[in-house]
């Protein structure tokens, strides 16, 4: 994948965000009056973002126009992106399911799924790990940290 194209799109998006921060007064609510004002620092940052993203965007655009050869850094290797997508899907499902199924029920499935994704096929050991690790974390959190991880709430 050509990173220059992404640079141009990203720069355009950041420039737009910066312009919105610089011109929109509705991004801040309430607060007391000070000499500096609540939006001074965010606007100062927006100016710098405008400059740096503009620099990156223009450099990449010029290189795109000149059709210069891609350097190693400018080529994004997309190998393995399918696995990354699956990993994020597992993680999102975990986030959605754990408040209902509970940490102890949801976690073994997640461990098994990620281990499978990474090429693990030693099911006995992975199975034991998927049971022991959640129990240890749950027990450690509740006993020592006084943090109570989500529990089953479907009944």
């Amino acid at each position: 994948m050509n990173r220059r194209k992404i640079d141009v799109i990203l720069s355009a998006a950041l420039i737009t965000v910066s312009l919105i921060i610089l011109t929109n007064d509705k991004l801040v609510e309430g607060g007391m009056e000070t000499e500096l004002g609540s939006m001074f620092v965010p606007r100062l940052i927006a100016v710098f973002i405008l400059i740096f993203s503009g620099t990156i965007g223009i450099q990449s655009l010029v290189k795109l126009k000149k059709r210069e050869k891609l350097t190693i850094h400018e080529h994004i290797n997309t190998t393995g992106f399918g696995g990354v997508g699956i990993y994020f899907s597992i993680f999102i499902l975990y986030w959605l399911a754990s408040p209902h199924l509970g940490f102890l029920v949801a976690t073994p499935f997640v461990i098994l799924a990620i281990a499978y994704l990474l090429g693990g096929r030693n099911w006995i050991l992975i199975g034991i790990m998927s049971v022991i690790v959640p129990i240890l974390i749950y027990y450690g959190c509740s006993q020592y940290l006084r943090v109570f991880l989500p529990t089953w709430s479907l009944s």
Binding site: E33, L36, S38, P42
Partner: protein, 514 residues
Amino acid sequence: MIENILQGFATIFSVGPIVGIIIGVIVGIIFGAIPGISAIMAIAIMLPLTFYVEPVVGITMLLAVYKAGIYGGSISAILINTPGAAAAFLTAQDGHALTRMGKSGKALCMALYASVTGEMLSTLVLIFVAAPISLISLKAGPIERVYLLFFAFTVIGSVTGESISRGLLSTCLGMLFATVGMSSITGATRFTFGIPELMSGFTFTPMLIGVLVMPEVIIAIRQRNSAQGNLKLTVSPNPEDNRISWREYRSVLGTIIKSSGIGTFIGSLPGLGSTTAAFLAYGEARRTAKNPEKFGNGSIRGIAAAESANNAVCGAAMIPMLTLSIPGDDVTALLFGAFLIQGITPGPTIFFEHTQVIYGIFAGFLLTDFFLLFFARIGFKFWTKIASVPRYYIFPCVTIFAFAGSFTTNQNINDVLLLILFTMFGFGMRLVGLNPAAYLIGFILTPMLEQNMDQAVAIVGDNYSMYFTTPFAWIFTGLAALSVYSTIRQRKRAKVKRNDSACLEQGEAVADKV
């Protein structure tokens, strides 16, 4: 000061801190030794555990992970030529050459002794230098601190990024994210878009784990089809090949001291880090060596130089953080966050407000070196075995720890969503060449900048000349400009060098054809 140091040792010699250090050393060696997992990942995962313990226990445990993790990186570098971090690249060259000769024990011993000596020397510098510097920096008022912070942003942004503009953009993005939520000065809510969860800003721990740790899991998933190197310790029948004799250690002691000095100096400058230190020290050791041709082919002096410089950065990196409130790299940014979570703001006042804690931490630093020496030396075989655990056992556990760590901060499931979003963000940042360390430092330092800027504006009023009358203004502006200029020059030189070598290769190819 001596009294404070003794008090520090009295604080550290109790069950809690010692158990913390032992856990930290063990976790650090394991995580550092596993290829693909860095010390920073271990620190970030351990961070939520420290919320509920005393600051001395929590911080010393994290520092032990840091120190042991840096050493642990040399195990995989020496045994399978896979440096866990760029800083261990040179150790891999000489160390793996020794492994191929059947002398892996010698290489591991040299790396350990050099690491511990380097760390100890830089810790002593930290102890004796930090407090006097903090006395000077205490004289800086809000105006001077604003200049100092701008200097820090410029240096870190320009040095750490793939290019200056990308590094500085990373810092600016971190700064912008830090402004989300309620302003601590005016009480106004910014960029919350009516979402009440955003009122308190982005929770630090899930953001930290998402930006720094989880992208490493993603990288492992992307490379899941590539073979994992198998760590194996070969024991030579000749006992001399499995250890470093006192004579050998003494012969490289000069190199170790010089390299530790280089590492300490480089570590005390924000943004440069252990890789620069290791390369500089290695270059200097080779330049002054009687037999420079041995470097890269199994030289114990090479290992000593790279490892002592690399590890000396650990202690020295704390100097700018504790004296000027500037974290110089990603690890110190993380430790800065750990201090803040414990209710301690790193900076010059720390030596007066939290004397017992800070000297306890210093004593813990020294004690960590002894534990590292002990645990690493007795268990080379054991660490090698543990570090060979396949990644399909490690990364599912890392994911679960990240989930639990994010949840424990506020006992809020929304923080897990934040973790997922920041994982995507951190992964995206790496893809487009933005730097997570610069981002984090921008995020951490912005509230301080805003506070000092507000105070500076109130002090100056209409007398704008006050901004330029302080010598700090000129010194820090000059230093910031110098750092940007030197980085530009350095990168131009590197580019010219690359082009020259490409031309040379092309020329040779043409000559071959003719």
